[in-house]
Structure formats: structure tokens, C-alpha cells
């Protein structure tokens, strides 16, 4: 692979090409097994290879990719990257600046794991899924069960015209089980440990075993059935306690995307959108209450956003984003950081594979825990609701107005969790919502959740990211039953 990288870099060597980097991802493997109602709804082993060449002139980028990893096609695609950059340069007047970050010289990053999912037989996995899926069918109203497993392996070689190089092997795994109960037009779903495929981590199969899907299956089925008869979540303004998995998604949508520096500068205006946060507000903007502390931590063990170096060769960072409620940092690439006047990139330029150019992406965006246990946090609630496990999510293109639905709710009365509630929805505006956070759970309530499907870019890229989230309490939040 190093030879291919040298071939590509030599091909693009020209006076007007100020920088080039080449990534080879070979192979990029994705195994997914899913059992749905006793049958295999997905049993797939995908292995792809791709090489991407990115070049920069004084005014524009060019990126081209091929899955044909022979020297001839690699040279051809390298020349195409230069043609693209030159074509864009002709139409651009402004100079393009990037930060000058220290370059890795031959480093290697590898996922630390105990049971490599790619070197073990898959029979135990499918047996686990069959048992889990079967377990959710506790009543006739459970019309659908789904148990799924996924594992990704990314083997990457990176090299740049500045002499930077590194290699990495990163393994992600995850699994989940869900039940869908139906009666008339009422459709209720419960999932464990989280919805949309479950929970994911940078780890080996030991992580999946620890989820004990089969052990949770019957409860998942019973809760889906119970929701059919549960009262709708009441409508009103109330105290909201969010469980850890829903809070992780709240952080993702209303903090993570909003602090992507490319969005702030308008680079995504035509597609993903912009941000309510202006670049000149960093250091002064009140994002939330004093209890709000958020970090972007690409070094946390087990995170889907953990790596050695990003896709521009910048070493993984731990960056404060919100400190005691004030915005203090952002997610950035070498270009966007330079645009802000920073000397160094935030090290969060990531590509979903060798066939995509890096974009500013999340890593592990974590809400730091506070100091209250669950019981202590609930004690302060005279009348409210506890919501968890996402069912629907939507937020505007500046990351302000959001509306989330969760799979279930529980009424909180005098500090105690009470009856089950169906179709709960809560909504709000990002700054006032975070300003209303008046209690944050302690580390015992915190979990690092993996989200494998964060979309961005054209052509589309799916990033795998994580969010450490405790439970937390919010006052005067609009809730209703959908």
C-alpha cells in the first residue's frame, strides 16, 4: 500500500499542487447479521477497497477515488484529482489556507480488543440473535422482532506530500434487539439496549456478549405490548428527566452538529445546514446552564470516534467544547481551523472510507457527568416525566428547534417513577433547553453510546460517533403524547 501511496503522490507532483494526501482503506469490512421474525433479514459480509487522492492548489481542493488498486488506475485517478482542483481553481479567487499541524511519521493505531469479531466463527453470533429475537415474541400482538449484530473493520494507510504517514486498524461492533407490537393503527416498539440497531463500541465481540440481548428480550417484548394499553404522555410544560441514551442523541443533534466549524462558516449551507452558533461567539456564548460541560474526546477508549490520527494526519485530541455553560471550542479541520485563525486543527476531519474526502465530523462528544445519583435526581421532581430510548428525531437546519419522540415514558410523581406512558414527544429550542438543565447524573448514570449512522456530505458519508451521557433533569419543557 505504501508503494501505491508513493505512486499517487509522485503522479500529482506539480508546481501548482501545494499539498496532497492519499488514503488507502483496504479492506473496509462490514459484517451485519440480522434476524427478523425467525428469518435472516440481513446476512452480509461486505469487503471493499478504495484509494482516495486529495490535492490542494493555492485556491482549491480536488478529490478523486477508485476501487481499482493497481498502479495504472491509481495514477489515472491521481491525475483526475489534479484536473478537478485546477478546474475549481480557475473559478476561485480567494486563497485557501490550512493550519500547519505536526505530521505523524509512521505511527500505528490499533483497536484494543479481546475477541476479534473477524477471526471468530459466526455461528455463536447467529445463535445469539435467533435466541434474542425469539424471546421478544411474548404475545400475539408482537408482530415483529429484530435482533441484529454489526461489525466494521477499517484498515487504513495514510501518506501525504509533507512526509506524514500512519496506519491503523479500527474495529467497531454493536448489537441490539427490538420488538414491535401492533393493535389497529397503534404501533409500539421497544428496544434494548437502544433503538436503531442497539449500542456500538470500538471493541471486540466481548462488548456484544456483555449486552445480554437474549436476557433482555422478554422484557423488551412485554414493554412493547404494555405500551399498547398505556395512557398517552400528557400534554403540557413539565420537568423532564432524560435517560442516558436519549440524552446522547440530544447532545449529538443540538450540540455536536452545531459546533462543527464548517457548518458555522456556511460550507454545508446548501445541504446539512448551518449553525445557530456564529464563529465569533466562541468563548462568550452561553450555551447552557453552569452544569453543562461538553468535551470532544477522540482519545476515550471504546468510542466510535476514537482514533490515532484523523484523515488529515492530525493527532487525536481531547477538546473542551462547553465549559460551565459557555462555548469554548469547536470541531474543526485544517481548513476550517485556519479560517477561524487557529494555529492548529481540532483534529476532527474524518472520512467514511477511502472513497470519500474528509469532512469536519464528530468524534466522541460527551456531556460530562455531575454528582447526583438517579434517586437524588428524581427526588427533586414533584411531577414530571422520565423519557428514554429514541423513536424519532428532527431538528432545524441551524440546530435550534428540535423535536424528539422516545419509545416510552414514565410519569414521575413525588420523586418516584410511576406509570408507563406511550408516544411521548418533547420539544424545545437548543439554548433555552440546555439553560434549563438543573441536575446532572453522576458517573454511575453515565454510558458511552455508539451511533453508527451520522449522515453528512455530498456524496453522502455515514460516520460512526459516540456520546458519553449521564441522565439529566430539565425544567419547564414542552411534552406531549403523539
Amino acid at each position: 500500500m505504501e508503494e501505491l501511496i508513493r505512486t499517487a503522490l509522485a503522479t500529482v507532483d506539480a508546481p501548482d499542487v501545494l499539498h496532497a494526501d492519499v488514503r488507502v482503506v483496504a479492506h473496509d469490512r462490514f459484517v451485519q447479521l440480522a434476524v427478523r421474525n425467525g428469518a435472516a433479514s440481513a446476512l452480509t459480509d461486505a469487503r471493499t477497497e478504495a484509494l482516495g487522492v486529495r490535492v490542494r492548489t493555492d485556491r482549491a481542493w480536488g478529490f478523486a477515488t477508485t476501487c481499482d488498486l493497481r498502479p495504472g488506475p491509481v495514477r489515472e485517478v491521481a491525475r483526475l484529482a489534479v484536473r478537478l482542483a485546477r478546474a475549481a481553481t480557475r473559478h476561485t479567487r480567494e486563497r485557501l489556507r490550512v493550519t500547519d499541524d505536526p505530521a505523524p511519521k509512521g505511527g500505528r493505531y490499533m483497536t484494543s480488543l479481546r475477541r476479534d469479531p473477524f477471526s471468530m466463527p459466526l455461528e455463536p453470533v447467529i445463535e445469539l440473535l435467533i435466541a434474542a429475537e425469539k424471546g421478544v415474541h411474548v404475545a400475539r400482538s408482537v408482530k415483529s422482532g429484530l435482533a441484529s449484530f454489526a461489525a466494521w473493520e477499517e484498515n487504513k494507510w495514510y501518506g501525504s506530500s509533507e512526509g506524514a504517514s500512519y496506519t491503523s486498524r479500527i474495529v467497531h461492533v454493536g448489537a441490539g434487539v427490538s420488538a414491535t407490537a401492533v393493535r389497529g393503527a397503534s404501533v409500539q416498539r421497544r428496544s434494548s439496549p437502544a433503538s436503531f440497531g442497539g449500542d456500538f463500541a470500538q471493541a471486540g465481540f466481548e462488548f456484544v456478549e456483555g449486552l445480554d440481548l437474549a436476557g433482555h428480550a422478554a422484557q423488551v417484548g412485554r414493554e412493547a405490548v404494555a405500551l399498547l394499553d398505556a395512557p398517552a404522555c400528557p400534554t403540557g410544560t413539565t420537568t423532564l428527566v432524560l435517560g442516558s441514551s436519549q440524552l446522547a442523541l440530544q447532545v449529538h443533534e443540538s450540540v455536536g452538529h452545531a459546533v462543527e466549524l464548517d457548518r458555522m462558516f456556511g460550507s454545508e449551507a446548501g445541504f446539512a445546514g448551518t449553525s445557530w452558533v456564529a464563529p465569533d461567539k466562541i468563548g462568550v456564548l452561553r450555551y447552557g446552564s453552569d452544569l453543562m460541560n461538553v468535551v470532544a474526546d477522540a482519545t476515550e477508549p471504546g468510542g466510535l470516534g476514537t482514533f490515532g490520527w484523523d484523515d488529515e494526519g492530525v493527532a487525536a485530541h481531547r477538546t473542551p467544547i462547553v465549559h460551565k455553560g459557555t462555548l469554548v471550542g469547536t470541531l474543526s479541520s485544517r481548513e476550517s481551523a485556519a479560517q477561524l485563525g487557529l494555529r492548529r486543527s481540532g483534529g476532527t476531519a474524518r472520512a467514511s472510507g477511502g472513497d470519500r474526502a474528509p469532512l469536519v465530523r464528530m468524534t466522541n462528544i460527551n456531556l460530562e457527568p455531575g454528582d447526583l445519583s438517579l434517586d437524588e435526581l428524581l427526588e427533586g421532581v414533584h411531577d414530571g416525566v422520565f423519557l428514554d430510548t429514541n423513536r424519532s428525531w428532527s431538528i432545524d437546519d441551524r440546530r435550534l428547534n428540535f423535536q424528539f419522540g422516545t419509545e416510552f415514558g414514565r410519569r414521575i410523581v413525588h420523586g418516584e417513577l410511576g406509570e408507563l406512558l406511550r408516544n411521548p414527544i418533547y420539544s424545545g429550542m437548543t439554548p433555552s433547553f440546555w439553560a434549563s438543565m438543573d441536575a446532572v447524573g453522576d458517573p454511575s448514570t453515565r454510558h458511552l453510546w455508539g451511533l453508527p449512522n451520522c449522515g453528512k456530505g455530498q456524496p453522502g458519508q455515514l460516520a460512526r460517533v459516540s456520546h458519553g451521557a449521564p441522565i439529566a433533569r430539565f425544567r419547564d419543557i414542552a411534552v406531549r403524547g403523539g
Binding site: D45, F63, T92, L122, L146, W393
Partner: protein
């Protein structure tokens, strides 16, 4: 380093299927694609992307145990590796009792479909030039506006072979562009949006799109409106979003089988006014045509709503077996994540009416004009309820005219309610392209549409 074999597609990919052991069969998809995507923002080209890709997937049936392996190496050696991987997976698969076997090679195809060789072979410089035309036109009509968007031009060939002797292929050319012209210095910012897709880049009209976006920038500051239920005029991009969700929630056989389809109790019943006819038609010249689905079944026009009456869900091999209904040719790639999506209509055409946009607005009298939606998600599949935000141009309609821009609103509404409430259909329709599927739709006027909250801009 071992010498690499050319990953070029094997001349006869069916050879790997003939090597499968007795009792096994398979189907194989080979997708070769080339595209250039030019993104621009803040008035300059910032993300040019060129891609040459090969994707191959082999689904193997070991008896009635199914598994799929995919890769990017379509040489015979690569395909043999895939077969080995798929066989190993199939051995551990649960039995699929409803699997009816692979698609038979009988039947007649739709013939030659619309395709543009010029579009398929457009150079990177040519695509960049299209982006430049958009930028120049927008800058000319709205000096100082921040312009962002994308031009995507490419081609894709899908070939499907299977153990029954089927060997079919289809090719697509596609050109897509969208443009946002925005005045972010205004508080709240005002914006204009335009987009279009076509199989022929010459008919994309990049300068027209740039001008349209620029001309749609409101001249005044957006005002707040109270959330509530309003009559609306939905422009084409907003209609396309609603139809995509209707297709998934109402016409996927998975929803029928698992009970969550919002139309499962409405087949054969009136769900919209008689003026509403929705067809999935992958062979039309007014879409991005596709002659076969991902299992090799010939595609054909499939009525979804005829004169306001809901028809059946669409199927692929597995769901036609489970539902005991005819195969309609709507298979997605079998490696789609989790198998969640199931078969889906992906070439939707909503019949036009005879109203211009001005007439839709005039007839609406009082209400809102919505250009497009953002981040639409399912709230309650059984009732077809979805939510999302308006974006890039929302206006108040007063006395039959566009009165002023308004701040964006969140809708939470059932696609069935919206469908039922269609009062008028526009006469002009465009192709809206997203992720391999296309919706061809006019603007529509809907009598009542529920907005549940508002945002700050």
C-alpha cells in the same frame, strides 16, 4: 506485495454461479459507476469529488438459507471469494420458508430507456462549468448573496445475473443540481432555493436554477407566525419529501407484513381526491429511468394511488413469497442495512394538474407557501405521522398573494391527512433526485396542514 488481479468485471460473471455446489443457487449484482460531484459554498467551489466505483453483491441460497456477500472486486477471482464468503454465512442462516427461488428469465423488458451518453461521459471540467454557471447566474441576480449548492453528474450500470439463467442490465445517466441563495447578514436570514434533476445534463438548466434561487430571496424580513393548522401551497421539493415517506410508510410490503403500514387497512379505498394519481414508473422518460430492480425483475409502471384510491404495496422476491402476492419488481440491494427497508417504490410520479404556482396561491387565499422541508422523520408509522421543519423560503399567503416571508415552522402531520387534503395540483413538474431514487412532482395546494412549533429564523 502479491500482484493484483484486475478488479474489472468478469466478462461472464455467471460463471461463478455455475460453480456453486448442487443445492445452491444465487443472484449477483454488479454495479459500476462514475460520477463527478461539485459542491460550492460561500460563492466558491469547495468540495470537488470524482468517483469511479465497482460494487458487487452475491446472494446465495443454500437450499432455503440465504446470505449475501459484497465487495468491490468484480473479477472472477473476486467473485469466487464472494461465493465462498456467502456460502459460509448461508450455512448458519435460519431457513427462509417463503423464499420462492430467484427471478425467472422469462418475460419482456421495457425496451430502450432514456439515457444520455453525453451526460454519462461529461468531463470533470464540464461538470465544474455547470457549477460555475449556477454561481454566475445567482451572483448576477442577487449580488452579494451567499450561494451554496451542488452539481452531480454521473452514470451507473446495474447488471444482474442469476442461477436461473437471467442476465439483465440497465444503465442510468443522471444530472442533479441544487442551489441556495442566502442573505445571512439579515436577521433572520432570507433564502431562495431551487433544484432539479434530469437524465440529460443539457436539460438541467443550471443558469435557470441559479436565477430562480436568487429571485426567490425575499425582499423583507421574515415575521413570526403562530403554529397551527393552515392551508398550504407546497412547492415540488416539499411534495417530493412527503411522497418519499408515503412510499415507505404506505407501500412497502414490509409494512404490510409487519402491520405498521399506514395504508394496510385502506387498500382499494379512497385516500385522496379523485384528481390524485401516484404511480411508480421506473421506465418513464420523466424520471431517472431504471429497467430492472436489484433482483433483475423488469420494472414497469405500478399504480399506487389511482384516482384517489390506494392500491397494493410493492414487493420483491421475499415479500411476494410471504404475502403471496405478485412480484412487482421493487427489490432494493439485499445488503441494505438490517433488511429494514424492504421493497420500496423509488421512481414516483405524481400526475400534474393544470394550475400554475400563482393560481395555487390565488386559490389558497390565506395560508403558507412552503419551498421545502428539512430533517423529516417518522413519528408514528401506523398513522403515517411525520415531522420536519420548513426551510429556505416559507411565506405567508394573504388575499391570494405571497404577502411576506415568515420564520420557519415545524410540521407534525400525517401523510394521509395531507394526501386527503390535496385541493389543487400544479401543472409544472420536475424531477427531484435523492440517493438513487427520484420523485417527479408538481407543487400542490393542501387544505389543512398542521404546524406544531416555530423556530427563531
Amino acid at each position: 506485495m502479491p500482484r493484483r488481479q484486475a478488479p474489472h468485471p468478469a466478462e461472464d460473471p455467471s460463471a461463478v454461479l455455475s460453480e456453486l455446489p448442487r443445492g445452491s443457487a444465487g443472484d449477483l449484482r454488479l454495479v459500476t459507476a462514475m460520477s463527478t460531484t461539485i459542491r460550492f459554498a460561500n460563492g466558491r467551489i469547495h468540495q470537488p469529488h470524482l468517483e469511479r466505483s465497482t460494487h458487487v453483491s452475491l446472494r446465495l441460497a443454500d437450499g432455503r438459507r440465504l446470505a449475501t456477500a459484497t465487495g468491490s472486486d468484480a473479477s472472477l477471482a473476486g467473485l469466487r471469494n464472494l461465493a465462498g464468503t456467502a456460502r459460509a454465512l448461508a450455512r448458519i442462516a435460519p431457513v427462509e420458508r417463503s423464499f420462492p427461488g430467484f427471478v425467472s428469465p422469462t418475460g419482456k423488458g421495457p425496451g430502450r430507456l432514456a439515457f444520455s451518453k453525453t451526460t454519462a461521459e461529461l468531463s470533470p471540467e464540464g461538470v465544474t462549468e455547470l457549477a460555475e454557471q449556477i454561481l454566475e447566474a445567482a451572483a448576477s441576480d442577487a449580488p452579494g448573496a451567499r450561494v451554496a449548492g451542488v452539481v452531480h453528474v454521473g452514470n451507473e450500470e446495474l447488471r444482474v445475473v442469476n442461477s436461473c439463467g437471467l442476465d439483465r442490465s440497465t444503465r442510468q445517466s443522471v444530472a442533479y443540481a441544487s442551489v441556495l441563495a442566502q442573505r445571512p447578514d439579515q436577521d433572520p436570514p432570507v433564502a431562495g432555493w431551487s433544484e432539479a434533476a434530469h437524465w440529460d445534463a443539457d436539460r438541467l438548466g443550471p443558469a435557470r436554477l441559479g436565477r430562480e434561487a436568487a429571485d426567490r430571496i425575499a425582499r423583507s424580513t421574515p415575521q413570526s407566525v403562530e403554529p397551527g393548522t393552515y392551508p398550504v401551497v407546497l412547492r415540488g421539493p416539499a411534495v417530493a419529501d412527503l411522497l418519499r415517506f408515503l412510499a415507505h410508510l404506505g407501500f412497502s410490503a414490509n409494512g404490510e407484513i409487519e402491520g405498521w403500514s399506514c395504508l394496510r387497512r385502506s387498500r382499494g379505498k379512497k385516500v385522496a381526491p379523485a384528481t390524485v394519481t401516484l404511480t411508480d414508473d421506473p421506465v418513464s422518460r420523466e424520471t431517472i429511468p431504471q429497467a430492472i430492480d436489484y433482483e433483475g425483475t423488469w420494472t414497469a409502471p405500478t399504480p399506487l394511488i389511482e384516482d384517489g384510491v390506494a392500491r397494493h404495496a410493492v414487493t420483491d422476491l421475499l415479500t411476494s413469497g410471504r404475502l403471496k402476492r405478485p412480484l412487482t419488481g421493487h427489490a432494493q440491494p439485499p445488503e441494505a442495512p438490517w433488511g429494514d427497508y424492504g421493497p420500496a417504490p423509488s421512481h414516483l410520479l405524481l400526475d400534474p394538474g393544470d394550475a400554475s404556482e400563482d393560481e395555487l396561491i390565488r386559490e389558497t387565499r390565506h395560508g403558507l407557501l412552503v419551498t421545502r422541508f428539512h430533517y423529516v422523520r417518522i413519528v408514528d408509522p401506523g398513522r403515517g405521522i411525520i415531522t420536519g421543519m420548513t426551510r429556505d423560503g416559507t411565506y405567508a399567503i394573504e388575499n391570494g398573494e405571497v404577502a411576506r416571508p415568515v420564520r420557519n415552522l415545524r410540521f407534525t402531520e400525517s401523510v394521509l391527512t395531507a394526501l386527503h387534503g390535496i385541493a389543487l395540483l400544479g401543472k409544472d413538474r420536475r424531477i427531484y433526485y435523492e440517493g438513487g431514487g427520484a420523485v417527479t412532482a408538481p407543487a400542490v395546494a393542501v387544505g389543512a396542514f398542521r404546524f406544531t412549533s416555530a423556530t427563531l429564523f
